[in-house]
Each structure stands twice: as structure tokens, then as C-alpha cells.
Amino acid sequence: MKLVDSIKKDFNTVTWVLIPVAIAINVVMGEIVVLLKLPIYLDSIGTVLVAAVCGPWAGALTGALSNTIWGLLIDPNALPWWPVALFIGFVAGWCAKFGLFKNWWKVVITGFLVALTAAIASTPIAVYIYGGITASGSSFITAYLLQTGQGLIPAVFSTNFLVEPVDKISTSLLAFAIIQGLSTRFLARFPRPENVEIEQGATRNQLFYAIGIVVVLVLIAAFILTRILTQ
């Protein structure tokens, strides 16, 4: 029953109304980024937003519906990726639940974890549906790695791993900035306003923590990547 209660907690009327708006934010952000010719996607801001203020289950639903509707009505290439969007929402929701959405350096960690999830979840889809080469520009890197004699799965995974963190960390930071711009009274209507209460603390210590954590994350990433590529 604990699971059912946890799912139920995510969905009140405001959640149901926020989800369509969040999906529209995903779609329109994706289009603005293309218009500005920026080298990132930012097409899961709405999903991360819902995940942070409403919870993991609502986030997962937003992600899955977002890609399905996008794929059916706008760009068919978005359709096979709905499980990735689902996991993005789910992991962002759990991160927020464990207090990783309360100040900017914690949000960076959330972004990194979300990116890791996205990289893992999109690898099997890229491999089994597209044979590793998708219709996105980052397939250049995959192709190059394949030509240097890498296996298919390591090549796809390391491409995703190189591309995702920048995108997902900026996505999470933007979602955080949006939430900070909303009033407490408005946020209190969502199921989990306590997730995004900002933490006040010694700012200098925070900066040191932040730098330390980013360095550790980069080291872990480099370690994983070299392990994969030297196999």
C-alpha cells in the first residue's frame, strides 16, 4: 500500500492541470532552442519541473506522454524515446524527494544523475531500433568510435555519456531557476512543495562543496568512460 499511497500523493488537480502545460513547455522549448541554434536540446524542462514539485510518478507520466504526443503529432523521430523521458522524470523526482533540488549545486548533481539515467536508458533503444545510428547529430561521434573499432554498445553509451550531462545539467538548472521565480503561495498548491524549499546556509562552504562534487563527478565520468573504451 505504501507504493500506491506514494503514487496517489503525486496527483492532485493542480498536477493534472500542470502536466499538459509542462508538455507544451517541453515542445516549445525544444523549438526555441532549434531557432536559436544552440547545441543542446532542453526539451525536458517541463518534465523536470513536474518531477520536482509533484513527485517522481507525475514526472515519469509527463515524460512518457510528452514524447508520445510529440512523436505522434510533430516529429516521428521522438516517438521511440518515450522510455528515456519516463526515466528522466522518474529519477529527477526521486532526486528532488531526497532533497537534491534545494540549492544550485545540489541541482547540478540532480542534472548529472538524470544525464546518467538518460544515457543508460537510451542506449538499448538506439542499439535495437536504430542499430546505433540515430537521426541526431551526435551520431557522428558514435560513427567515429565505431570506425576506430569499438563495440556497438560501448560506442553508443559513451556518445550518450558525452552529450547528455551538459544538456541535462542545464535543463535542471533552468527548471530550478523557474521554480525560484514562482511564489511560495503558488508552489504550496502542488503535492510536494517541500522538495523545492531553498536552503539557506553558509555560501562560501557551499561553493567549496560544489567545486568538490563537480570535480568528483567529472573524475567518475572519465573513469567510467576510459574503462568502457579500453575494454
Binding site: 496527483f11 488537480t13 493542480v14 493534472w16 492541470v17 500542470l18 502536466i19 499538459p20 502545460v21 508538455i23 507544451a24 513547455i25 515542445v27 516549445v28 522549448m29 523549438e31 526555441i32 532552442v33 531557432l35 536559436l36 541554434k37 544552440l38 547545441p39 524542462i45 506522454l65 504526443i69 505522434l72 503529432l73 510533430i74 516529429d75 516521428p76 523521430n77 516517438l79 536504430y130 542499430g131 546505433g132 545510428i133 540515430t134 537521426a135 551520431s139 557522428f140 558514435t142 560513427a143 567515429y144 565505431l146 570506425q147 533552468l174 523557474i178 521565480g181 514562482l182 503558488f186 498548491r189
Partner: protein, 259 residues
């Protein structure tokens, strides 16, 4: 501005009168058969011998051709080129550019994949051309889908075009104030803030009002809601759904048997 994001074309045809769920099962079934079939030419056969005739049955052939050439063909064509160039399979090299080798096998692989995606997208296009979204949703709600899902999907396809129009207005307004959306990368990234914040905050403010409005209309009520329109579900619909299900199972069986 389009009122809602939908391909639906109102016509009077056999396909339009089928139950929405049957058409959904048809689109899903054709997709699965295209992806799971062990024979190389199946997706192409589905496109030419099932989907194309269906577009005539549904009297939507012109809209279908339009969508096929303007949306589906560019997307699958791009996928075909990417895979033909980058897929490192096969040995019979046809020609090579820089470090990319185009082989006969990679061409064949890319072609198969492109036709599969084409079959998938075009079967869903036929489905969307002949099915009104609210009809599908009220049928599914009738069969036990929570009405909140129906609300989310219907209101999403209404909100997206509204928001796209709003984004266009904001972009035009900020450009007329001299916002730089074309020069260096940093300037373009900086342009994100004045474009995104009015859009996002503006649409989030509406959320609260809308929540109060639908709450006042019994959105969370647990009573069964009556529907104005009855959607027909004939025995032919039921038979067709079973046949499609059996076909998918048969294809999976053949695939396992042949491998």
C-alpha cells in the same frame, strides 16, 4: 494559428466510422508486424498494399500523400542517409568518404530500417487522419481509462498550438526591442532568458486558475460521468481486433521458429 494540434480530417467513410480503438489496434498491429517480421520486404509491402489502399478507403489519400511527402519522407530519408553512411556492417564496399564506408550491407540495413519507421509513422498518420482525438478519448474513458488521462491528452493538444503562438509573439516582440538571436553562441544562449521567462511564467500562472475552474466542475468527482455521444462498437470491430492480435502473435511465432 491552428485551433488544436490534430491531423483529423472530417469525412464520411468506412474508416471514419470504425471504432477508434479498432483503428488504434490497427496502427499498433501494423507497426509491430513491420518491426518483428523476419522477411525483408514486409514493411514496404505494408506501406504499399495496406496503408496506401487504406488511405483511399478513408478518403484521405490527398492529406496522407501530403503528410507522407512533407513530414515522413524527409525524416526517414535523413535516417536512411545517416545509417547508410555510418553503419559499420558488411564488407562489399561501394564507395567511401573520409572515414565513412558505404557498403552494400549498410545500404540494405538502412533501407530496411527506414521502411520500418516509414510504415510505423504512416500507419499512425492514417489513424490520426481518420480519428477525432476526443472520440478516441471518450471511447477509452468508457472502457475504463481514468478520465484524468483523457483530460491531459486533450488539453495538451489544445495548449501546444496556443503556446507556439505565444512563443512566436514573444520572439517577435523581443526582436523588435533589439534582442540578438543570430550572432555568437553566448549571445544566443543569453537570449534564452528573455524568451523563456515570459513564456513559462505566463503559462504557469494560468495553471492555478484552470485548476480551480475544473475542480468547480466536478473534475475529481468519483461518480460515473454520462457522455453526450455514444461511440459505436460493432461485432466487425471486435473481430478485426482479434484478427490483428492473432496476426501479431503469428508473426512473433514465425520469427522465433525461423531463428
Amino acid at each position: 494559428m491552428r485551433e488544436r494540434l490534430s491531423f483529423y480530417v472530417k469525412r464520411e467513410s468506412f474508416l471514419h466510422n470504425l471504432n477508434p480503438l479498432t483503428k488504434l489496434v490497427l496502427a499498433l498491429g501494423l507497426t509491430l508486424i513491420g518491426f518483428l517480421s523476419p522477411w525483408y520486404w514486409t514493411p514496404l509491402a505494408i506501406i504499399f498494399f495496406i496503408i496506401a489502399p487504406l488511405s483511399f478507403v478513408g478518403k484521405v489519400q490527398r492529406d496522407f500523400l501530403n503528410a507522407a511527402f512533407r513530414l515522413i519522407l524527409p525524416a526517414t530519408g535523413f535516417l536512411f542517409i545517416m545509417q547508410a553512411l555510418f553503419q559499420p556492417v558488411g564488407k562489399t564496399e561501394l564507395f567511401s568518404i573520409w572515414f565513412l564506408h558505404v557498403t552494400r550491407e549498410s545500404l540494405a540495413y538502412a533501407f530496411e530500417n527506414a521502411t520500418r519507421i516509414f510504415a510505423m509513422v504512416s500507419s499512425f498518420t492514417i489513424f490520426l487522419l481518420t480519428t477525432h482525438p476526443s472520440e478516441l478519448m471518450s471511447d477509452l474513458t468508457h472502457r475504463g481509462l481514468p478520465s484524468q488521462f483523457a483530460y491531459v491528452i486533450i488539453s495538451t493538444i489544445q495548449i501546444i498550438p496556443q503556446m507556439q503562438a505565444k512563443a512566436q509573439t514573444i520572439i517577435a516582440a523581443q526582436r523588435s526591442r533589439g534582442l540578438d538571436t543570430e550572432s555568437s553562441l553566448f549571445k544566443r544562449a543569453g537570449a534564452l532568458v528573455p524568451l523563456v521567462s515570459p513564456l513559462v511564467f505566463g503559462s504557469l500562472v494560468e495553471v492555478e486558475e484552470r485548476a480551480i475552474a475544473i475542480e468547480a466542475r466536478g473534475f475529481t468527482s468519483r461518480h460515473t460521468k454520462t457522455s453526450l455521444r455514444e461511440i459505436p462498437d460493432s461485432s466487425f470491430d471486435k473481430a478485426l481486433r482479434w484478427i490483428l492480435l492473432l496476426l501479431v502473435v503469428a508473426i512473433i511465432a514465425v520469427k522465433i521458429w525461423l531463428s
